[in-house]
Subunit: 337 residues, 2 copies
C-alpha cells in the first residue's frame, strides 16, 4: 500500500475528473451577479411541491438529474451519491435521493458539505472503489430560516452581520476518466471553536476553521497561495472573509487571489443580504455553476475550494454553547496542455 | 488503478485491523444481558453535565478517549474521526470532537452510522489515505426521545411496536497494521422506502433496506449466508428481524445465523422495551462491546454487520411522508491461523 497523505492533506495520485456539474438556484440568486452562470433559475419557491422541505428535495433531485444528463451518466449507474443538507436529520437530501437506486452515503458537514462530499468522492474514485459518483448539496432559504431562526411570517429584523441563506443546489459528477478540471488534492479539516456564540454572525464563527485548513493545505503541500489562480472559501461572507484575510496578514501573507462564495453570489448593495450569502447551497451553486464553468472556459486553471461549515444546532445555541466551525478544502486543476 | 468494486460491494484488498474498540452504556443497558460486555456503565444519565445533549457529547468523547487508550494511539494522532449521531445537525458528535485536534468527517446515516463510518474508514485506510482512524457514534435516550417524540415528563404511552433508544456510545479504532478482526468488505446501501409511515414502528420501516443490502452483499461476493458465523443487523428489533427473516424465507433461504442488535441488548421480558433497542448507540455498543470482543475471544470468526438507519425527521413525519430506510454492511473476519 502506498501512503498518500501528508498532514491533513492527500495529494491524489490519479485525480478524478469533474465530468459535469449543474447548479439550480432560486429567484433572488438568479437576480444576483452570477445569475447567468446557473443552469436553471426557479422562480417558484415551492418548486411545484406542497412544502418548502419537499421543494428542497425536488430541487436536489432535479439538480442531480441534470448533472447526470450533462455527464451522459444514468443516475442508477452512479457508484454512489454523497450528499447532505441543513435540514434536521438531513432529510432534504435523503428524501431527494430515495428513489435513485444508487448507493447513498449521507454526510453532515453543514455548509462544508460540498467540499466534504467532493473530497470523499475523489478519494473513493482514486482508491478504485467506484468509477463515478455524485457529490451534491443544497439549501433553501425558507426551510433554513424557519428551522434556525424565526417563522418566516414573523418578519424578524436581521442584524448587520447576518447572512442570507441561499436557495440553490449544486452537483458535481466525478469520474475516473474524461476531460475537465481534476480534483488533485483534499485537505480534511479539524473542528475549530473560537468561542463565538452569535448565531447571526456565522462568518466570524467559521473564519478560524477556514484559516486553520488553508494553513494546513499550504504547509502540507508546500504550495504558496500564489500557486492558485483563485482561493475561495464557502460562505464566510464579508465579515468572515475579512477575518481570514487579516489572519493571513498577521502571518505576513497578503491573499490577493482570495474571494468567498458568500460575497460573490449577491449584490450586497442592491439585494439587502447584509453580510452575504450562506447555506450549503451557497458554495454549491457558486462552485458548480460559476467556478467550474470558469475552469472549463479557461479563465481559472488552478483553484483551491474551501467550503466552511458551522456545526451548531438551534438546541446548542439555546443552551448557550459556542459555535464550532469546520472547513474542508479540495484543489481543482486543469491539466496542462 | 485497480478497480475493487463489484455491484455495491468493495472487497478490501489490504483489510484494516480493528486495533481496539470501546463501548460505554447507560444504566438500563448495563442491566441488560450484555451488561458485562461493555467497558463502562454510567449510572448518571447526565454524565456529570448540565444537559442531556452535553451528556451525549461527554459520553462520545469519553468513549473515543478510552478506545484510543486501548489502541495505544493518542487521539490527536488519528488520521481522522468519522462520526455522526441523531441530534439535529449531528451536534452530539460535533461538540464531542471539537477539541480533539484530529480531522473530522461528519456523517449522517441515522442508526446506520456505525457501519457507514467503519466502511468509509476501512476504505480510506486501504486506499492509503490514513494509517489509522476512529469510527464512533452513539445515542442518548433522553435527547432522542424529546427530539423525536414527546417531552420526557409527559410520560407518553409507548406502542407495542416501539423500540427503546439506547443510551450508549461505541468506538472502533481502525489501523493498517496490528492484530485483531479485519474489515474485509463493505457493501454500500441504497435508500429503500416501502411506504411505512408509523414513527413508532421503525423496525418495519428499515427492514426492507436491510434485506436489500444483505441480498446485494451475497450477490456481489458470491458468498452464501452460511459463510458467516453471524449475520447481525443494527436495530430492527423483534419486528424488523422477523420481517427480514421472512423476506429471505420467501427466497427459499433460512437465516439460521441471523440476529439483530436491537433484540440482543435488552431483556424484552423484564426490561419493558417493547420491540427492542434502537438508536445509533444500539448497534454501536453491541458491536464495539460484545461482538468484536467475541471475535477476539474466538467465538465468532466471520461476521457480517449490517447497521440500519431510518432517514425521516420529525418534520417529514408531520408532513405525512413515509420513512426511507438505509443499511450499510461491513464484514469482519479473523485472520485464519
Amino acid at each position: 500500500m502506498i501512503y498518500k497523505r501528508c498532514g491533513q492533506t492527500v495529494l491524489i495520485q490519479t485525480p478524478p475528473v469533474v465530468r459535469a456539474s449543474a447548479a439550480i438556484a432560486g429567484k433572488k440568486e438568479g437576480d444576483g451577479p452570477l445569475g447567468s452562470r446557473f443552469d436553471q433559475i426557479e422562480p417558484d419557491a415551492y418548486f411545484a411541491q406542497k412544502t418548502w422541505e419537499q421543494a428542497e428535495s425536488a430541487m436536489l433531485l432535479r439538480c442531480l438529474s441534470l448533472a447526470c444528463q450533462k455527464a451522459d451518466t444514468p443516475v442508477e449507474a452512479l457508484g454512489f451519491i454523497l450528499s447532505g443538507d441543513l435540514q434536521n436529520q438531513c432529510a432534504g437530501a435523503a428524501y431527494a435521493m430515495r428513489d435513485t437506486g444508487a448507493p447513498y452515503l449521507g454526510l453532515y458537514g453543514a455548509c462544508s458539505t460540498m467540499a466534504e462530499s467532493i473530497a470523499l468522492g475523489a478519494l473513493m474514485i482514486d482508491g478504485g472503489y467506484s468509477k463515478t459518483c455524485a457529490a451534491i448539496t443544497g439549501s433553501h432559504f425558507c426551510t433554513a430560516e424557519r428551522q434556525y431562526r424565526f417563522p418566516l411570517g414573523y418578519g424578524g429584523v436581521r442584524t448587520p452581520t447576518a447572512q442570507w441563506t441561499v436557495t440553490g443546489a449544486g452537483c458535481v459528477i466525478l469520474s475516473e476518466h474524461g476531460d475537465g478540471p481534476r480534483v488533485t488534492s483534499a485537505t480534511l479539516g479539524r473542528i475549530v471553536d473560537q468561542g463565538v456564540k452569535d448565531m447571526t454572525n456565522m462568518g466570524a464563527a467559521m473564519a478560524a476553521a477556514a484559516y486553520d485548513t488553508l494553513k494546513a493545505h499550504f504547509r502540507d503541500t508546500g504550495r504558496s497561495p500564489q500557486y492558485y489562480d483563485l482561493i475561495v472559501t464557502g460562505d464566510l461572507g464579508e465579515i468572515g472573509h475579512g477575518i481570514v484575510s487579516e489572519l493571513f496578514e498577521r502571518d505576513g501573507i497578503t491573499l490577493s487571489n482570495y474571494d468567498d462564495c458568500g460575497r460573490m453570489i449577491f449584490d450586497r448593495e442592491s439585494q439587502d443580504v447584509h453580510a452575504g450569502g450562506s447555506g450549503c447551497g451557497c458554495s454549491a451553486v457558486v462552485l458548480a455553476g460559476h467556478l467550474l464553468r470558469a475552469m472549463r472556459e479557461g479563465s481559472i486553471r488552478r483553484m483551491l475550494f474551501a467550503a466552511t461549515g458551522a456545526l451548531m444546532s438551534p438546541t446548542t445555541s439555546m443552551q448557550k454553547e459556542s459555535i464550532p466551525g469546520i472547513c474542508h478544502a479540495v484543489s481543482f486543476e486543469v491539466k496542462e496542455a
